[in-house]
Each structure stands twice: as structure tokens, then as C-alpha cells.
């Protein structure tokens, strides 16, 4: 009897899974799947854009995994995805592994210095040099004279500082360490800038993703860390005002972020197929700009046929989606605490997207 039931169960399971595979197959044969992965920094925005785009083009399924910029670039070089998200432009060695990659800034973000000091709900001021010294383990107490000197209105406790940083390869870390390398000679020589660095011995915790770091800061008293602005606003975190090169202490907001992006865009940006490794939005030339700002990029091959499984249909769907991201998608930015791309950046992006080809032919159906 038992064997009879077991046999029945096995037959049932086989039939069910068969039916399931059948259903998914018939669904997937209609939909165009665009797989992508990369930076977690723009993920809330991309996710929203994907949802909205699905209402416009229901047959296109875009899938974006926020695995970190490093993982995104690795997947791009391995050609396992159609486009990657990265907060850092491709470095020289990465460019060799993924040649002919186009840079398309999709949004602008600020990196906020978030802190959790019991009894200090807001108003902390910091400089780049102090942040570097804290993360290098040179400043270990919250009431260090260097910090109290520029914060005369706040009573800081004699508690040890706990630093929180990313555990995986991250574009946010790249921008943050890039900023610290500009601000502190000691940081530049001892640590340097990269998507993941050798963190100096300090009282530190590492966690995965912007959400992971944000979660640890909010739950750990006397901690400090760097988190993308949108995440800090959503989680109501306390963030520090940072001194910019003009001596002003600026809090990261959508306005102070947009000012930084505009001032760089006015100076001129490289073309989409040129080298972007030198581009940054740090310490920009405007007295009201927040100093730690960055583009987040979509990286895509100029010639799409290098990706296995690419078809004309998919190439068109991909280009239509990218076009939507830099135009209509930007309208969604402000409600999610992201900064819209300045108009001149959108124009550069449009030119970049027009460069994309499939089997040597430009795809001009919509452009």
C-alpha cells in the first residue's frame, strides 16, 4: 500500500513540475528577458523604473540584481548579462577585460556620512580629513579635540567610534575612498582608492550592500559609516554636514547633489565611448555643492553581438529600455530621493545610446 501511495505521489509531482515548466516556458517564449546586475546604489530607482517600464512595454522583462558594482563589472566582462550597473567608471584593467564598453550615467547620488551617537540627534559637522582619520583608526573617540573643535554646540561622549563599511566590492566604497584619497595624503598613501580596500585596523564592522551598512549603523550606538543618500533618507538616519573646498558645511540633499552634477556637466564630460576613468563629482566648483557626489553608470557593450544569446529583438528591447531610463525614467528620481540627470548629461547619453550596434548595424527604429 505504502509503495502504491509513493508511486502515486511521484507521478503527481512529475506531472505538476512538467506543467509548471510548460507554463514558464510559454510565458518566457512571449516575453523578452533583459538580465542585468551591478551597483546597489541606484537599485531602488532602477527597480521603480523597471516596474513603470513594464506598464509601458509589458512584453519586456528587465531583471536587475543589486549585487554590487564589482560583481556587475565581472558579469559584464564574462558576458553573462546584457548591461551592468556601476558607481565607478571602468578602470584601465577593467577596460581591457570589457573592451568597447559605453558609459551611460543613469542617475546622480550623494554618499552621506551617517552616524549614530546616543544623545546627538543631528548637527554633527565633519571634514574629509577627520573622516579619513576616523576610518584609518587615528581618531578613536567621539570627543577627540579635533571633532569637538568644529562642533562647539554639541556635547560629544567619550565613547569609542565604531566604523562601518562595505564587505563586498562596491562602487560606493570606490567613491568614498576616492574622496578620502583627495582629502588625506595619509589615506592616499596607506590605503588608496578602490571598490574594495585593505581597511586599516580600526574598531570596524563590515556588511553587505547599502542596506546592510545602513542597518548596522542604525542598530549600533556610536557608529559611523558611508551610505548612499537615498537609503539614509528612507531609513531616517542622522547624517553629518561635510565641509566642501569653499569652507561651507553642506548637508547632502537632492539640491546640493544636483548642484554638484550641474557644475561638472558644465565643465564638459567625455563622449560615451571615451575613457571615463578620470570622471568624478567630488569637491566640485560650487560653494553650495555637497562634496561627495557620484554618477551611477549603466555599462553596455557598443556592439551587442559579443553577448551570447543576443538577438535583434533583444537588442532593440534593450536600447528602448535604456532610452526610457535616461528620459521618462528620470521623472521618477525625485520621489525616491535621487537626483535627476541635468539636461546636458541626458543629451550626451542620447548620443551614446545611438552608438550601440548589433551585428555592425545601428538600431535606429526609435531614435
Amino acid at each position: 500500500m505504502v509503495t502504491k501511495y509513493a508511486a502515486l505521489a511521484i507521478i503527481l509531482i512529475t506531472l505538476l513540475s512538467g506543467a509548471f515548466i510548460g507554463v514558464t516556458y510559454s510565458l518566457s517564449s512571449k516575453a523578452v528577458m533583459l538580465n542585468s546586475t551591478g551597483a546597489s546604489f541606484p537599485y531602488p530607482l532602477i527597480d521603480k523604473i523597471i516596474t513603470e517600464y513594464n506598464k509601458v512595454e509589458p512584453y519586456v522583462q528587465v531583471n536587475y540584481q543589486p549585487s554590487g558594482s564589482g560583481a556587475g563589472i565581472t558579469a559584464l566582462a564574462d558576458k553573462t548579462i546584457f548591461f551592468a550597473g556601476s558607481d565607478a567608471p571602468l578602470s584601465k584593467t577593467e577596460k581591457e577585460k570589457a573592451p568597447n564598453t559605453l558609459h551611460i550615467p543613469e542617475t546622480v547620488g550623494s554618499i552621506a556620512i551617517a552616524y549614530n551617537i546616543t544623545g546627538v540627534p543631528s548637527g554633527l559637522k565633519l571634514t574629509g580629513q577627520i573622516i579619513a582619520d576616523i576610518f584609518e583608526g587615528k581618531i578613536t573617540l567621539w570627543n577627540d579635540p579635533v571633532i569637538t573643535k568644529i562642533n562647539p554646540d554639541i556635547v560629544l561622549p567619550a565613547e569609542a567610534i565604531i566604523t562601518v563599511h562595505r564587505s563586498e566590492s562596491s562602487g560606493t566604497t570606490f567613491v568614498f575612498t576616492n574622496y578620502l584619497s583627495i582629502e588625506s595624503a595619509s589615506w592616499k598613501n596607506n590605503v588608496g582608492q578602490s571598490k574594495t580596500v585593505a581597511w586599516p585596523p580600526a574598531n570596524d564592522i563590515a556588511s553587505n550592500g547599502n542596506t546592510g551598512v545602513a542597518q548596522i549603523i542604525t542598530s549600533t550606538p556610536y557608529s559611523i559609516g558611508y551610505v548612499e543618500l537615498a537609503y539614509t533618507l528612507q531609513a531616517n538616519m542622522t547624517i553629518a554636514a561635510i565641509q566642501n573646498p569653499y569652507g561651507n558645511y553642506v548637508i547632502p540633499t537632492l539640491e546640493s547633489t544636483a548642484i554638484a552634477a550641474q557644475s561638472v556637466a558644465l565643465e564638459g564630460l567625455p563622449a560615451g565611448d571615451a575613457d571615463w576613468s578620470g570622471v568624478n563629482l567630488l569637491n566640485t566648483k560650487d560653494a553650495n555643492a555637497y562634496p561627495i557626489v557620484s554618477f551611477s553608470y549603466i555599462l553596455v557593450y557598443q556592439e551587442l553581438n559579443v553577448i551570447p544569446g543576443m538577438t535583434q529583438e533583444r537588442a532593440v528591447a534593450l536600447i528602448e529600455f535604456l532610452w526610457y531610463v535616461i528620459h521618462d525614467g528620470q521623472q521618477l528620481a525625485n520621489s525616491l530621493h535621487y537626483t535627476q540627470l541635468p539636461d546636458n548629461v541626458v543629451e550626451i547619453n542620447a548620443e551614446t545610446i545611438k552608438l550601440i550596434t548589433f551585428n555592425g548595424q545601428t538600431i535606429t527604429t526609435i531614435l
Binding site: A71, I73, A160, A198, W199, I205, Q215, Y222
Partner: protein
């Protein structure tokens, strides 16, 4: 049931094809049995082959170095902190987990009334089936708070002068990782130990009671002694789980890298080999030194697990057989 002629027919058939059928089955079974060994060999070979560039590049410093610098042009990888981190967290897990597990097993077999014994055994076994990410989630949102408030802060306040209790308690540290591992290995060790103790013949207990031993003496001198090789095997299985556990540890250990991951104090963030791989494998590009390093870490972890299991097997067969003679 059915007509009596049918079984006869089948027997005839079997006899007819006995040699080929039997041989076929034998070959089939041998292939399946060999595949376990082949998979192990392939895994080991792939890890060894992949890790050669890193080991050649850094030499012995790969295993005994503490530096971890992934910045291009400054790359240097030493994995000593993570080997020690694995040993220390697993050690804490055993220290806390083994006494508790034995307590559960002894209670269930020797003391619990029948009405309690079955449901509690079920619950313990169910705990072994909880996915590790759930332990991690519970650990980060519940256990961490308890640890900081009730354990770490008092310890650091009154015993902070002892080096292992120094530092600022923040709950994402080696101690928290060790405690979550202890909780995770308790079901494994407890349920296996329970089986071992149940297998102890009642005649042993009856004999012991008849010469006037108390309950405590019976358990200590006869029951545990009789089952010690089985209990040892259960502990080793638990240790195996602790050494390789990834998700929950990654969520609770704080994921330090480089010299600051060297375990100096219980209240500092650390890193195990498994959590290191989980944190970084995604961004290791094909052919890079970093990927080779991660494969080297994997190889070290594999060798460590093999040593634990083979060593345990040797201890069990050599030491216990000679001394106790009561092999389960």
C-alpha cells in the same frame, strides 16, 4: 494476494538472467559508489589547480600572512586570520554547544517521561532542519541585542582587563558568531547523542542500579562511557557543520579583513574562511589573483574538514576500540 503462479514465474526469470542482471546491478552500484569519491577528487583537484597562482605568488605567506589588500597594484593576500577565525568560532560553538546537547540527550533518554520524550525529540530534530539564513536573521535582529545588553556589556565592564573580553561590545563579533554556531550545532549533536544513548542496553543500567549506583553514577560511569564513541562522532558531525557554516556566520561576525580580523578579543569583528568566500567570490574576475586566492581558501577549508573527519575516525577506531570495547 494474487495468483500463486506469478511469483514462480518471476523466480524462473530471475534464475535465467541471474548472472547478467546481478553483474549489471553490481557494475551500476559500483559506479554510483565511486562517483562520491570521484566528485571529491575532482573538487580537490579543481581547487588545487585554481589556487596554485596565489600560492606561488605569496608562498608560505599565503597561509601565514595577515595582510589583505585587494587594491590593484597593491594586491597581497594572507589567510591566517580567517583560518584562526574558523577555529575560534567553531571552538566557542563546541564549548557552549556540547554540554547543552549532552544535557538534552541525557534528559530525553534517562529522565523525561514518555509523554514529553517524543514531542521534545521531534522539536530538537526539527531545529536541525531550520535553514541557516533564518538563524542568521534571528541572530542579527534578536540574539545580537541580547548579547550586547546581557552578556557582552557586563563582561567588558567587569572583566575588560582580560584580553579576550577587551574592546567595545557591539554584537557583530566573534562571540556572537560562536554563539549562533552553538545554537545551530545543538540539534545535530543532541539528536545523534540521543540515538546513541537509547542504544545503550537496558541490562547495563539494571546491572548498575543493582549494585547500588545512584542515577548520576549510572549515567556518568556506565551510560556515557558505553556510548562515548557514538557521542564523539556526534560532536564531530556538529564540528563539521560549525566549520563550514556560512550564511549565519557572515551575518553575525562583522566581516573584518586583514590584520584586524586576527582574533584577539571575543568582542571584535572577525571572519571565517566560509564567510570570506561568501563575501567576495562574486567580484573575483576569471583568471585574477583574487579568484585564485578564494579557491585557495576553499582548498584550505576542504583540507581542514577532511582532517577533522579522518582524524575523528582514527581516534574513534583506534583509541575507543582499545579502551572501551563498546563500539556502537
Amino acid at each position: 494476494m494474487k495468483s500463486p503462479t506469478k511469483p514462480q514465474k518471476q523466480t524462473q526469470k530471475l534464475v535465467k538472467h541471474k548472472i547478467t542482471g546481478d553483474n549489471l546491478f553490481k557494475i551500476f552500484a559500483t559506479i554510483i559508489a565511486a562517483s562520491a569519491l570521484i566528485i571529491l577528487i575532482i573538487t580537490g583537484y579543481t581547487l588545487l589547480k585554481g589556487s596554485i597562482p596565489a600560492i606561488q605568488n605569496f608562498g608560505l605567506n599565503f597561509f601565514f600572512g595577515q595582510q589583505w589588500n585587494p587594491v590593484e597594484g597593491r594586491e597581497i593576500y594572507g589567510i591566517l586570520p580567517y583560518i584562526l577565525g574558523t577555529l575560534v568560532t567553531s571552538g566557542i560553538a563546541l564549548l557552549i554547544g556540547v554540554p547543552l546537547s549532552l544535557g538534552i540527550a541525557i534528559f530525553l533518554v534517562e529522565m523525561a517521561p514518555r509523554s514529553l520524550r517524543v514531542p521534545v525529540s521531534y522539536i530538537v530534530e526539527l531545529l536541525a532542519a531550520v535553514p541557516s539564513v533564518i538563524y542568521g536573521l534571528w541572530g542579527i535582529f534578536v540574539l545580537r541585542g541580547w548579547m550586547v545588553t546581557y552578556v557582552e556589556t557586563p563582561l567588558s565592564k567587569y572583566l575588560g582587563w582580560i584580553p579576550i573580553f577587551s574592546g567595545t561590545p557591539q554584537g557583530l563579533d566573534i562571540f556572537a558568531a560562536g554563539v549562533i554556531l552553538a545554537i545551530m550545532i545543538i540539534p545535530t549533536i543532541a539528536s545523534l547523542s540521543k540515538e546513541v544513548l537509547t542504544a545503550v542496553p537496558n541490562s547495563i543500567r539494571e546491572g548498575a542500579y543493582s549494585i547500588g549506583a545512584t542515577k548520576w553514577e549510572v549515567i556518568k560511569r556506565w551510560v556515557l562511557s558505553y556510548g562515548k564513541s557514538g557521542i564523539f562522532a556526534a560532536v564531530i558531525l556538529g564540528l563539521g557543520r560549525a566549520v563550514g557554516e556560512t550564511m549565519a556566520v557572515t551575518m553575525l561576525i562583522g566581516n573584518a579583513t586583514g590584520p584586524s580580523a586576527m582574533p584577539h578579543s571575543l568582542f571584535q569583528s572577525g571572519q571565517t574562511m566560509a564567510s570570506l568566500i561568501a563575501n567576495g567570490f562574486m567580484e573575483a574576475t576569471t583568471g585574477s589573483l583574487k579568484l585564485s586566492t578564494y579557491l585557495g581558501v576553499g582548498l584550505t577549508l576542504l583540507i581542514m574538514s577532511l582532517i577533522i573527519n579522518v582524524g575523528a575516525h582514527l581516534i574513534m577506531t583506534r583509541v575507543f576500540k582499545v579502551k572501551g570495547g563498546a563500539i556502537e
